[in-house]
Amino acid sequence: MGNKSLKKLNNPLSSPEFQLNFLSNGVFATGELPAFQDRITETGKPFLYPKSLEILQINLGYMCNQVCAHCHVDAGPDRKEMMTRITLKKCLDLIESAPVKTLDLTGGAPEMHPDFRWFVSEAFKLGIEDFIVRSNLTILRANKKYYDLPEFFKAHNIHVISSLPFYKKEKTDRQRGSGVFVKSIEALQELNAVGYGIPKTGLQLDLVYNPSGAFLPGNQKALENDYKKALNEEFDILFNQLFAITNLPISRFLEYLIASENYDDYMKSLVEAFNPAALENVMCRNTLSIRWDGYLYDCDFNQMLDLKVANPIKHLDNFDLNSLQKRNIRISQHCYGCTAGSGSSCQGSVV
């Protein structure tokens, strides 16, 4: 695995236009596979529409201490995009005024943002029901300045959702880089030590599994049982829930699919596993995603493809929820990733 982002390498797959073009050609242009829009039309409605807004997902920036082989963000140490304090303040205003039940901070590694602690403290004061930070775990052990983050999370009643692609070293390190597994285990033990994942503490620690290759995730509950058994027996680690997330054909995972000649078969698997019930509950229907520069998206995947919301209001500066609720959700073939089998969202299966 390289340690540079596709963007730094000037790989064409770092371009949203190139990716969208690729996703609309090949097996979808020949008619071998139906376009995602066809699936929506089959439901009798012309577009996918939002439900009430519940989740605000803020992407603080694309900088990360890791360069994961499957990353849809193309995050890494060389990504400098970062939300300014002015935009962060606008986010706080929005949280205060909009009926947001869940605030979900992501990145990159959100903890690397210089205003991370300030923003969490300010947002915490607004009394959010479910305040999520998506942590890659290794950042908690990357530098001494991050060592007290478990305590900081606890003090702000943060719901920690952490990626751990597998409960064994080899698969985890292959996807996320050498040494990631050991550091992740240390971080989980630190989180457990302050009460995260421990019954009756109320401190929620969830893990995210995503397949380390061109296949769909298995049953979420069965995987959760395997994770719980393995992590508890080998490392004394406890956690609450496991979310099984399907890899979407975007950015680095798309690059892997193409390079390994798995793209056509993977897309066929996604299309064959299309589940109309999942379409009802996909996360883009109750979520808004905010980019580091304040632009608005239906989800974090659309953000990476730069599919800005289909609405005159496209930016935090002139946010108008009533207008945004009337938008239709922008889609492309990558959306098949969220509707395959039991569905997939940032909080795992949806059916």
Binding site: Y167, E170, P211, G218, A222, D226
Partner: protein, 111 residues
């Protein structure tokens, strides 16, 4: 080879065997699915048994299907390879144990 006897896409047509014998086909697939339900043996254990048997019967469709099934279940490559060795050991043993018969015939017919 341009036109191999085995085509990977044929696996997806497996259900079509019911077209020419709907009742037997339906019974077979009901039975098949029930076999792989969680039971006294876990679905994970059954997946590994299926993988081993796939190698014994040397069915490329089955090997493809149960390797992917194992990946989805989080079964390691080491576990899969050990299962294949179980198949190989039984298969090899089945040949070798007939060596006893060979030895008996040899001994009986030899002075």
């Amino acid at each position: 080879m341009n036109n191999p006897y085995y085509q990977s896409q044929d696996l997806k047509k497996f259900k079509k065997i019911s077209d020419w014998s709907p009742k037997l086909g339906k019974n077979f697939f009901n039975y098949y699915n029930s076999v792989f339900d969680e039971g006294v043996l876990s679905a994970r254990e059954k997946s590994l048994i299926a993988l081993a048997v796939s190698h014994t019967v040397q069915c490329p469709y089955c090997i493809d299907a149960y390797t992917q099934d194992g990946l989805q279940r989080g079964i390691d490559k080491e576990e899969m390879m050990e299962a294949v060795h179980v198949a190989a050991a039984i298969r090899g043993g089945a040949s070798l144990v007939h060596g006893v018969q060979m030895m008996e015939v040899y001994n009986k017919r030899s002075m």
